[in-house]
């Protein structure tokens, strides 16, 4: 079938839902009007480990408006059936109110339900919980680890022993929390045996619908999940957290719809986080900078009840060419809640380490950091031997170096000064897996010439609502205005999780497939219809523009969808478009980037300020450059936070998170953000998926923090390996 002209795809469209959002009419999880709703407030454990010895609810229940207080003392036993295929990590998930064990500080131990929010919150405060407290273990560096996951090629130990140059460093990236603007929230309502939840989630079907069905032991079809808007998530909506179950449980116990919104404080232990790491790396190279080996000893925190893994091993296996690699990745079970993926998961942490280490090697060998990377650039994927679908990292370096002005750099650390400020520049490579989950989309072309596309995906901010109609409009030959896209409801066709930079590839491909098929149906109907001006034309010679089918080389010969469907008394044409998911056995598929940073470090006060950043990305086709820039800027801001500010602090005495609020957990503010710029290499990756995208949301955070750390070293000559880098370390 003839390819449709690319009209909407590739253009900088503004968000179609922007007006709804800025006028407050976009309904987030807690905003949905539900008749008769009552309110729940969670009581959190104030010990980091132990047993609950008493729950005194008398004062809480005496408050006006309080309907009930539920704890393990009176909660019904819940089936908690296994849920394979969900994002629940290996282990036994936290079962709310099922026993007296406290597994981490802040664990939900009770919930108060009342007719007003104020009464519920006050009642929760009045619940007196007594504990037999035990000493929690929270230190990833010293606690006993689970058996490691390992990888080896060649003989890294021997290569390290024989190397001309050997470096050994330990890096410690801090725990980070996602801190989206919208708190997690759930409204739950039962109708007989059927449960409806309005929830903040990045996966309405596999993440929330199947999990609630498994927890309550009811059929998947008995649960409906509605989530049309997500106010940021960065990964922490990828699984179902205890509060969603609590809301559903409270609704069932009270017979009323229940709304539960976590407080900002509760988000720090009620949802997951990017785990803290203790990451020792050893490098072996020759004097010219050719790597012969790397060894990675990786320790990452997880909970005592689930073993959370992320793709922290992948970059060490494929980013650089070397014959010998050894990796051991151990999760360390601690008395904390379970981590979850956070933007650029695994890859960002690995890049912290590997890209800092490469900078240390470049400095050791007096080789330019870009040159060092070029000398170790592989021709094929060194972990699998597969060819790269596309790997344009060399171009990223050259474009980045040119646009950033890298050649003006004096390589000597501490060589540039601007008043009190030491100026430094640094760079890092970025890489992130290109994947794709199975997805479906329902496409319906109406007789009035408009189209409705639906898929149970999410839009946590990348602009799914906008980019999907761009794909659909071109594939159907419609204008964007005449295409409506709906998402976020489990009655829609299922998709994989809205994460891992896969939504465009997965849902976009399913939509393109569905739209291609509907267009084909319409063209076939026309060419077979004696009354159509297109009768008898080869379908492959027909294209559609602005809702009008015409012969490709004779635009005068054609008719509109509307004319065709109306004449044939067809109210609509429809199809389910599908995508089977990414295939990884023919090509090595990753997005790449080169990141450049300029920092100023106050020579006396130790303050680090990022003056400018540039990212150059090989991310395949860019469907919407305006939304891409939003993604890139957001990712860079996140990376700046990880490098310089963000650090969840746990008090080892009782497992308490001491900065569980936005005054003490620092994220960048506008004043911290100066000149951020992203460049996308023009092109696409047809091997990755039919629409040629490689994903952008994750890659734009990867590499930011090490580029900054490397720039701090260049400015000061001080190498800081614990993140975030703060004044304490630079005085």
């Amino acid at each position: 079938m003839t390819a449709q002209p690319e009209i909407a795809v590739g253009t900088p469209q503004s968000r179609v839902d922007g007006r709804l959002k800025v006028t407050g009419r976009a309904l987030y999880a807690a905003d949905h009007p539900v008749d008769g709703v009552v309110y729940a407030a969670v009581v959190d454990s104030s010990v980091g480990r132990g047993r609950i010895t008493d729950v005194d609810t008398s004062a809480a229940l005496a408050q006006p408006g309080v309907l009930t207080v539920i704890s393990h003392r009176n909660a019904p036993r819940l089936p908690y059936v296994d849920n394979p295929g969900s994002n629940n990590p290996p282990g036994t998930r936290l079962r709310v109110f099922q026993d007296d064990r406290v597994l981490f500080f802040g664990q939900p131990v009770a919930v108060a339900v009342a007719t007003t929010l104020e009464a519920a919150q006050h009642a929760a405060r009045l619940v007196e919980v007594s504990y037999a407290a035990e000493q929690p273990i929270t230190d990833v560096t010293s606690a006993p680890a689970n058996p490691p996951t390992t990888y080896a090629r060649g003989d890294a130990e021997t290569a390290l022993g024989n190397a001309e140059v050997r470096l050994e460093m330990t890096y410690r990236p801090a725990r980070n929390h996602h801190n989206p603007m919208e708190p997690h929230a759930t409204i739950a309502q039962w109708d007989g045996g059927n449960l409806t939840v309005w929830d903040k989630t990045q996966w309405v079907v596999g993440g929330t619908q199947t999990e609630l069905a498994a927890v309550f032991g009811i059929p998947q079809q008995s649960v409906r999940v509605i989530s049309p808007f997500v106010g940021g998530a960065f990964g922490n909506g990828l699984r179902t957290w205890p509060h969603t179950t609590i809301a559903a449980l409270a609704a069932r116990e009270t017979g009323r719809p229940v709304k539960l919104v976590l407080s900002r404080r509760q988000l720090y232990f009620g949802t997951g986080f990017r785990p803290a790491y203790d990451y020792r790396v050893r490098l072996a190279s020759d004097r010219r900078g050719r790597l012969s080996a790397m060894s990675h000893d990786i320790r990452a925190e997880t909970s005592s009840y689930e073993a959370f893994f992320e793709a922290v091993m992948a970059p060490g296996q494929m980013l650089y060419s070397m014959p010998n690699v050894r990796q051991a990745y151990s999760t360390v079970p601690l008395d904390v809640n379970t981590p979850i993926w956070m933007r650029g998961p695994g890859f960002a942490t690995a890049a912290f380490v590997i890209e800092s280490a490469m900078d240390e090697l470049a400095n050791e060998l007096r080789i330019d950091p870009i040159e060092l990377r070029l000398r170790n650039e592989p021709g094929e994927d060194p972990s699998s031997g597969l060819p790269f679908s596309t790997r344009r990292l060399r171009e990223c370096y050259s474009v980045g170096a040119r646009e950033f002005g890298w050649s003006r750099r004096n390589p000597r650390p501490g060589s540039t000064r601007d008043g009190d400020w030491l100026i430094g520049t640094g760079m890092a490579a970025a890489v992130y897996d290109t994947g794709g989950f199975p997805a479906q989309a329902h496409v319906r072309l109406h007789a009035d010439g408009t189209a409705l596309v639906q898929s149970a995906t999410s839009d946590m901010g990348p602009g799914t609502y906008t980019s999907m109609p761009q794909i659909a409009a071109d594939a159907l030959g419609l204008t964007m205005r005449t295409v409506t896209f709906r998402l976020g409801d489990s009655i829609m066709p299922p998709t994989g999780p809205h994460g891992g930079s896969t939504t465009m590839a997965s849902v976009g491909t399913a939509i393109q497939d569905g739209c291609d098929k509907v267009r084909r149906q319409a063209i076939t109907l026309a060419v077979d219809d004696p009354r159509s001006p297109l009768h008898g034309v080869d379908p492959d010679d027909v294209i559609v523009r602005k809702g009008r089918m015409h012969v490709k080389n004779d635009p005068t010969r054609g008719e509109t969808y509307q004319q065709l469907l109306t004449r044939n008394q067809r109210p609509h044409l429809e199809v389910i478009g599908t995508y089977a998911g990414a295939v990884h056995d023919r090509f090595s598929m990753f997005a790449y980037g080169a990141v450049f940073a300029e920092v100023a470090v106050d020579s006396r006060l130790g303050l680090v300020r990022v003056r400018r950043m540039l990212g150059v990305y090989d991310a395949g086709r860019i469907v919407n450059p305006k939304l891409a820039d939003s993604q890139a800027i957001g990712g860079m801001v996140g990376g700046i936070g990880a490098a310089l500010l963000e650090h969840t602090v746990t008090d080892p005495r009782d497992g308490r998170i001491v900065n569980a609020n936005l005054a003490d957990y620092l994220v960048p503010v506008n004043a911290d953000i100066k000149d951020l710029r992203a460049i996308y290499l023009n092109g696409n990756d047809p091997e990755a998926n039919p629409i040629g995208v490689k994903g952008l949301g994750e890659i734009v955070l990867v590499g930011i923090a090490p580029a900054i750390a490397n720039a701090v070293f260049h400015a000061t000559g001080r190498r800081i390996r614990d993140f975030p880098i703060t004044a304490d370390a630079l005085l």
Binding site: S46, E118, Q121, H122, R125, D420, R604, L605, G606, L607, R609, L644, L645, V649, D651, R653, R656, V658, N659, N661, A663, D664, L666, P668, V669, N670, A671, D672, T726, A727, D728, L731
Partner: protein, 326 residues
């Protein structure tokens, strides 16, 4: 939030009477309401004083400046007299909080704001300030932001205000109205170090109402400014800060007013630094020598040891910024 009653008053005598009955004054509400939500504060009665006529900034008879207790932070920072005669005050205000908070918060409320100590603000943690006798979780806990000066074995929480540091430097006074009339308390006596009673934070007696902060007349010309050192560039409390005002005559420093923030349990006046400056000519060496005395008597904790050096450097930097030379 615990239940409370709420009344508005429109004149100061009604306010004082309500305060005598145990009412807590609320104006901008930017600290108190936050703490009520966290159930750290549980007042039974709130007395809204926002309508009281305490919103003027006036020059006093002896040439000082009187800032009404209900002047908004934003308005005080924008006031022409404040900006031209006490830049240290306007700078301290503008480096505080966020624009939204400065539009609500008042000068009286600012100096009354309570510590940001994370254990104070978490009702499940031990805190002698919040609950006398319960212990101090910060002493052996995470104390990066805590005080290195003026602490006790009961409490090491810092006073978080920026403008209070400027007031301390300039030796301001606090005007109080109580059942027995007005009195004036020097700023140095107004905020209390924790000692054995960290729950007692200020010299206000029951029913007393702050009506104004007065800055005494200063020798002229006076150069002044405020430096705030923090991890991020805005919207964060100080790791360290320095309020500096210098009066030079014939190239010689004749008067020096210096105080530090972020380091003390109260705004920390630095008389040893001031004494070292008097009678000397500005030089880079002088700033460093004087600032070497800024952390005299410091007792750092596990995580805030860096503040000792950072404080000296902060003071040295701001002496140079205000006093000139390189």
């Amino acid at each position: 939030m615990f239940p409370f009653s709420y009344t508005k008053v429109s004149d100061t005598s009604a306010a004082v009477a309500a305060g005598q009955r145990g009412g807590r004054y609320v104006a901008g509400g930017t600290t108190l309401v936050d703490l009520m939500r966290e159930t750290v504060e549980r007042p039974e009665a709130l007395v809204d004083i926002a309508a009281l006529p305490l919103r003027d900034i006036t020059t006093t008879a002896n040439g000082g400046l009187r800032i009404g207790a209900l002047v908004r932070m934003a308005d005080a920072a924008a006031d022409r007299t404040v900006r031209t005669t006490y830049p240290v005050v306007s700078e301290a205000l503008e480096l505080s909080a966020s624009a939204q908070l400065r539009n609500m918060a008042t000068i009286g409320g600012n100096i009354m704001q309570r510590t940001r100590c994370t254990y104070f603000r978490d009702v499940t943690a031990a805190c002698n300030k919040r609950q006398p006798g319960s212990g101090c979780a910060a002493l052996e806990g995470f104390n990066r932001t805590h005080a290195i000066l003026g602490g006790s074995d009961q409490c090491v929480a810092t006073h978080p205000s920026d403008v209070a540091v400027a007031f301390a430097a300039l030796e301001a006074t606090v005007r109080l109205l109580g059942p027995n009339g007005e009195r004036t308390v020097p700023f140095a006596d107004f905020l209390l170090q924790p000692g054995a009673t960290p729950d007692r934070e200020h010299a206000i007696q029951r029913g007393e109402l702050i009506t104004a902060v007065e800055i005494p007349a200063q020798p002229r010309p006076l150069r002044s400014g405020y430096l705030k050192v923090r991890d991020r560039q805005s919207y964060e409390f100080a790791l360290t800060s320095a309020a500096v005002a210098l009066h030079l005559q014939g190239g010689v420093i004749r008067a020096a007013k210096v105080a530090a923030g972020g380091v003390g349990t109260v705004p920390w006046k630095l008389p040893a630094v001031e004494r070292h400056l008097i009678g000397k000519r500005p030089s880079a060496a002088l700033w460093t020598e004087a600032a070497e005395r800024a952390a005299d008597g410091a007792s750092p904790l596990t995580h805030n040891r860096f503040k000792v050096e950072l404080l000296k450097r902060t003071v040295a930097r701001q002496l140079r910024v205000v006093g000139g030379t390189r």
